[in-house]
Symmetry: C2
Subunit: 356 residues, 2 copies
């Protein structure tokens, strides 16, 4: 395999396992030229899937199966998985990245275990205290990158600044926006202007040299108020999952209304092409693939429930980050600044703002 | 006016002022028998609106206009409004509740000012450290009460416990559910199980005697995982506004798809009754009216952008809380427990849980 980009694919993770991951990997190879995959997991199961999918010899030549004898369960404690399962599909896939046998790895498995193993094996990039989880969301204007989405429940202002620097570097690389706008997720100016951590983070961001646009409220995320929206992992996770829940509820109600009786079903038939276009536009599967940012290697987490199309999108995301040299872009952001540059050191908190 | 329930209505607040609030108050009177309103604000403006709306003498007899010479701007700092505007419509409306001239007050004005003035004038109920903002959201199963939505950005576990007790008492009163389920908003078990405050709050809730169902993730809110969902005001505000933003984006995309060309417009015509039913079902206006909970008086905040229907819904909410004696129900929850009861004292933190 001499392709430009090689992805290590954890085939065992997620709700559907190899049935989805192997099929998605073949779809990915067919769609993205000059790529290869290392399919990691129980070799016989993966081989059986490859056979079943009847991959062409050309595609098959771009797949390598790498046996890993253990599987980490979705609810297994991360520390235990890290300690005890050295031959798990996640561990082996991450090891392949570490060893240079793959450019990136993708898993739909246990998020906590993937993060713990990636941190342990790959280590964080210089200047970064904690990796963060970043994902893309659709907005009225296009899309936005939100981080952290759950890796760090308690953050200091410095952590939020680092998230902003990482996020901006990623967007600069992948979206080809040289100076992406950065917003700080906060609550309305009306009541109180956020907690101390957020206020201090705002000051650090103003002094960071980033294209900082100030506070973004919850509704601003979907209004496209910034290319990068920064928050702690607790808030980010709640915001993301609340959105998922709301979208699911609305989809269900819409379906219920269109299937209420023979007349509504007829209306559904007529409206179907329009509804289908609408659904494609906001299809969460298109946005599948959250990056574990700040590591010395590209690791992408797929939603556990991802189907074949969604998992392929996660693979495409990983490939895109490799192609656009996202890691190098992030590393450059954290390189010691040239004399006169305003990039603050990680311990430069500045004076605490007098709370309004 | 000898009606059973009298509401003090701040007619000057909100994006639309008396044009909406006065019309909504008349709608409310027409819809809900045995009620009266005190219309607070610039008397001549309110009188002009009453004239314009051509209220029947019967309705007109249930309105009293109470002049208040000042108006608090939407972006005015709360402390300044509290200090300087003793004759503002918000202040006068809250004073009417304090003096017993009204059972509750409703405002679409400046949230921070309404909270500051309500706290100062009415004081908190016994045993409650901080008032919280609670609102109702639709769910797949019906509806849920979420608090706090922005009054308290930094909360202790005890505060979260108090929110739970208040919320449960409110639901017990208004929804006639004797033992409503209570959930704690938290992030997925996958990565990390929440911050220290949330973990401790979980322990307090387990020992509280409430019908506690444990952690609720963001998507659980709309799945109807609990009748009451408790969180700090930062997280709650972000979750609420993120939902608003997502709903607006989806509504816009749906409209764009249905107005794309002559064929889609035809489809829209056919599907219109179905879409209309769907919209009614999730209409945020129906859920308008957030209660400032924990005060010695009922204060309801309407969304600033509320239209006539939405503002009327906020009035109906206030009247419902009066009718169901929500304040007495909350006070009873915070009364000293009978011997042998498990209600913990406010300073009973218990041992910190060893983090998993």
């Amino acid at each position: 395999m001499n392709e430009a980009i090689t992805l290590a694919v954890d085939c065992m993770g997620g709700d559907h396992g190899p049935r989805v991951t192997v099929a998605a990997a073949l779809d990915f190879l067919a769609a993205v030229p000059d790529t290869a995959v290392v399919l990691v997991g129980l070799a016989d199961v993966i081989e059986a899937q490859l056979k079943r999918r009847k991959a062409s010899p050309a595609l098959r030549a771009r797949c390598r199966v790498h046996h890993a004898g253990e599987v980490i369960e979705m609810d297994e404690p991360p520390a235990q998985a890290l300690r005890n399962k050295k031959d798990s599909s996640i561990r082996v896939a991450v090891d392949l990245v570490k060893d240079g046998a793959a450019h990136a790895c993708v898993s739909a498995g246990n998020t906590g275990a993937l993060m713990a193993i990636s941190r342990f094996v790959l280590k964080t990039q210089a200047g970064i205290d904690r990796p963060a989880i970043v994902s893309v969301l659709p907005t009225m204007k296009g899309s936005t990158y939100v981080l952290d989405l759950g890796a760090n429940v308690d953050c200091t202002p410095q952590h939020l600044l680092q998230f902003a620097l990482m996020g901006a570097a990623l967007v600069a690389a992948v979206e080809d926006k040289e100076r992406p706008t950065v917003g700080l997720l906060n609550i309305g100016a009306e009541a109180i202007k956020g907690n101390e951590v957020v206020k201090e983070a705002g000051e650090l961001l103003r002094a960071s040299g980033l294209n900082f646009v100030g506070n973004v409220e919850g509704d601003g995320v979907y209004k496209g108020a910034a290319d990068v929206v920064v928050c702690d992992g607790f808030v980010g996770n709640v915001a993301l999952k609340t959105s998922e829940g709301l979208a699911q509820m609305l989809a269900r109600f819409l379906r219920e209304e269109f299937t209420r009786n023979v007349f509504t079903r007829l209306a559904a038939l007529v409206a179907w092409p329009v509804i289908a276009r609408f659904r494609r536009r906001v299809d969460p599967r298109s946005y599948n693939g959250a990056t574990l940012l700040g590591l010395r290697g590209i690791v992408v987490k797929s939603h556990g429930s991802a189907d074949r199309y969604a998992f392929r999108r996660a693979l495409e995301r990983a490939a895109s980050e490799v192609r656009h040299e996202a890691l190098a872009r992030i590393a450059a952001r954290f390189a010691p600044p040239a004399p006169g540059e305003a990039l603050p050191a990680a311990d430069d908190v500045g004076g605490k703002a007098a709370a309004a």
